[in-house]
């Protein structure tokens, strides 16, 4: 066994590893496992009936559909923002660079009421948009906006270091070979950024699907219209329909595990590609 044959030069492995696994199990693994055990109390058909009930299905649809759309917007907007922050110098660049982290640092409830007030009918942005006949707050569009808000740092902060480290010589090589600027971007730069971009996309998507605080204020929370899955869990809990709440949670958890798996694959892909060559 390799662990035993490998000499351990530093002390404390057994103790720290034991404590790590113990605390991890107590705090994270057992509570999460409880979720699955609780779901097992439902018969498969009852589980299926719960998650395919129209209201549940619609909430899942709203959460996943809008989160996906928001992640798509974040992918494009994030790339453009990263490009501006990394490749150009403009007044206030450092401030805007710092601003990117705000959605992550700002407590979600604060973001929620701020976005709602901003896009409400009489809000700074809501009023001009209302004049154009666009209603944002208390509609699915509002959910979409809130999801864009919370997702943007994920794309920017994943792609930024990769673009910074991207060798300028690659672009020069492409240009010397006769590629136009657009060809260089499309065939050399974007493929080089692809693992990071997809990672950022997956992170933004996953975060938006599970997001609660910044979304519920602006969502309007109309069943079958603008009700997100996490809110439905809360509603079912308040109705003491624990099994229903748990079933929805399990669907979302499984999705999280799939995302984690995809992220690990992406990471692996990025690493095998970046081996040496520099």
């Amino acid at each position: 066994m390799s662990t035993l044959s490998r000499k351990r030069s530093l002390p404390g492995f057994g103790l720290t590893m034991g404590l790590t696994i113990l605390w991890l199990s107590l705090m994270i693994l057992i509570p999460l496992a409880g979720l699955f055990v609780k779901t097992a109390e439902l018969s498969p058909s009852a589980f299926w009936a719960t998650v395919t009930a129209p209201r549940t299905l619609h909430a899942l649809q709203v959460s996943f559909g809008l989160a996906f759309a928001a992640a798509c917007i974040n992918l494009v907007a994030g790339l453009v923002i990263v490009w501006a922050l990394v490749r150009y110098r403009f007044p206030g660049r450092r401030i805007f660079d710092a601003v990117v982290d705000i959605p992550f640092a700002l407590p979600t409830a604060v973001a929620g009421i701020a976005l709602t007030t901003l896009f409400a009918q009489k809000g700074w942005l809501g009023a001009p948009l209302a004049a154009l006949g666009i209603k944002v707050a208390f509609t699915p569009l509002g959910i979409f906006i809130a999801m864009i808000f919370i997702g943007i740092p994920f794309v920017v902060r994943t792609v930024q270091p990769v673009l910074i480290d991207l060798d300028v010589e690659l672009e020069e090589a492409a240009e010397c070979l006769g590629a136009s600027r657009w060809q260089t971007i499309r065939r050399v730069i974007l493929p080089s950024l692809a693992p990071a971009v997809l990672t950022g996309f997956a992170l933004a998507f996953a975060r938006a699907v599970g997001e609660y605080g910044s979304v519920i204020f602006i969502a309007g929370n109309l069943p079958n219209v603008s009700e997100i899955a996490p809110l439905l869990i809360v509603i079912r809990l308040s109705e003491f329909r624990y099994a229903d709440a748990t079933a929805i949670a399990v669907v979302m958890l499984i999705f999280s595990f799939i995302i984690i798996f995809i992220l690990n694959r992406l990471q692996h892909w990025a690493q095998t590609r970046s081996l040496a060559a520099a």
């Binding site: 605390w23 994270i28 501006a84 009421i113 920017v156």
Partner: protein, 304 residues
């Protein structure tokens, strides 16, 4: 080793030489775009960040102060607000403390030793980042609720966990679980174990080695992790909302109070409490920027 980034709040790397907005006299450098393209891209970035990120932040302070500073201060001096602030500080203090100790222990085990399943262990530690906050709260309701596993027994013995401070602390700890560990693990891996081995070979014990060699090397990274952990702990909403029970003056943290005040149309009061949280976020971001510089320096120092 594989380490999936599940938090974007990471060091954003060094700067590279880049063309200025007016790319030098005469001809453009080989690797930049025409001026109009650059303007469009910069314009988009500024507009997007301003509208989606900057404006909401400014609005928080503007709304909070919309009825004057006196009104603002009296909203904060309200007994419910003070109780919420106190509870938030207590819950965050305990959670951060627990995660700080766990983070250092886990980082030592993971970064200083090789063992099979390391990647899996890191993935498991990162798990709370991928779980919806509502679900993070739900798991504790299932454990300690009236219908939960331990609920009936606890109730019979007069121990209140759910809808009380213990559940708030548990939910907060769950949500902030990975912060310190995931900041320390890569840092300690990058630093290697030579210094510790040198200390041991000079006769230092394990505890002395950690205290005198490892800790000085990781102190900025540790502070960084604690900072982010604290920001999230104080601001957590979804998970705490599920387990708190919203008992006024007792189990309301600041974010929960923001929700209640907002739903009662006490806008100025809601935004006043929100402004404290926003201020916390800003201070965190500034401190984070300062710390990033320190950590960067520390690592460079290590390379030479």
């Amino acid at each position: 080793m594989t380490m999936v980034a599940t938090t974007p709040l990471r060091r954003s790397g060094r700067d590279v030489a880049v063309p200025a907005l007016d790319a030098g006299a005469g001809r453009r450098a080989a690797h930049t775009e025409p001026a109009w393209v650059r303007l469009v891209i910069i314009g988009f970035a500024i507009a997007f960040l301003t509208v989606f990120v900057g404006l909401p932040l400014i609005l928080v302070f503007s709304e909070a102060l919309s009825k004057g500073i006196a009104f603002y201060l009296s909203a904060l001096a309200d007994s419910e607000a003070l109780a919420a602030i106190q509870l938030t500080l207590i819950a965050a203090g305990i959670s951060v403390g627990l995660n700080l100790v766990f983070g250092v222990i886990a980082a030592w085990a993971i970064a200083k030793f090789d063992f099979p399943g390391k990647t899996l262990l890191i993935t498991l530690i990162d798990l709370p980042f991928s779980v919806s906050p509502v679900i993070s709260g739900l798991v504790f309701v299932l454990l300690f609720g009236a219908q939960g596993w331990f609920g009936p027994w606890l109730m019979a013995h007069g121990v209140q966990i759910l809808f009380a401070v213990p559940a708030i602390v548990l939910a907060t700890t769950f949500v902030t679980f990975p912060f310190v560990a995931r900041e320390l693990i890569p840092l300690m891996q990058e630093q290697g174990q030579q210094e510790e081995e040198a200390a041991i070979s000079l006769g230092a014990g394990g505890w002395t080695t950690f205290w005198r060699v490892t800790l000085p090397n990781i102190k900025w990274g540790l502070l960084y992790g604690v900072l982010l952990c604290n920001a999230r702990a104080m601001g957590e909403f979804g998970a705490v909302s599920v387990v708190s029970g919203h008992i006024r003056g007792e189990t309301n943290t600041m974010p929960l109070l923001v929700e209640i005040l907002y739903n009662e149309y006490q806008m100025v009061a809601a935004f006043a409490v929100a402004s404290l949280l926003a201020l916390l976020a800003l201070v965190t971001l500034i401190a984070k920027t300062v710390l990033e510089g320190r950590i960067e320096q520390g690592l460079q120092h290590h390379d030479h």
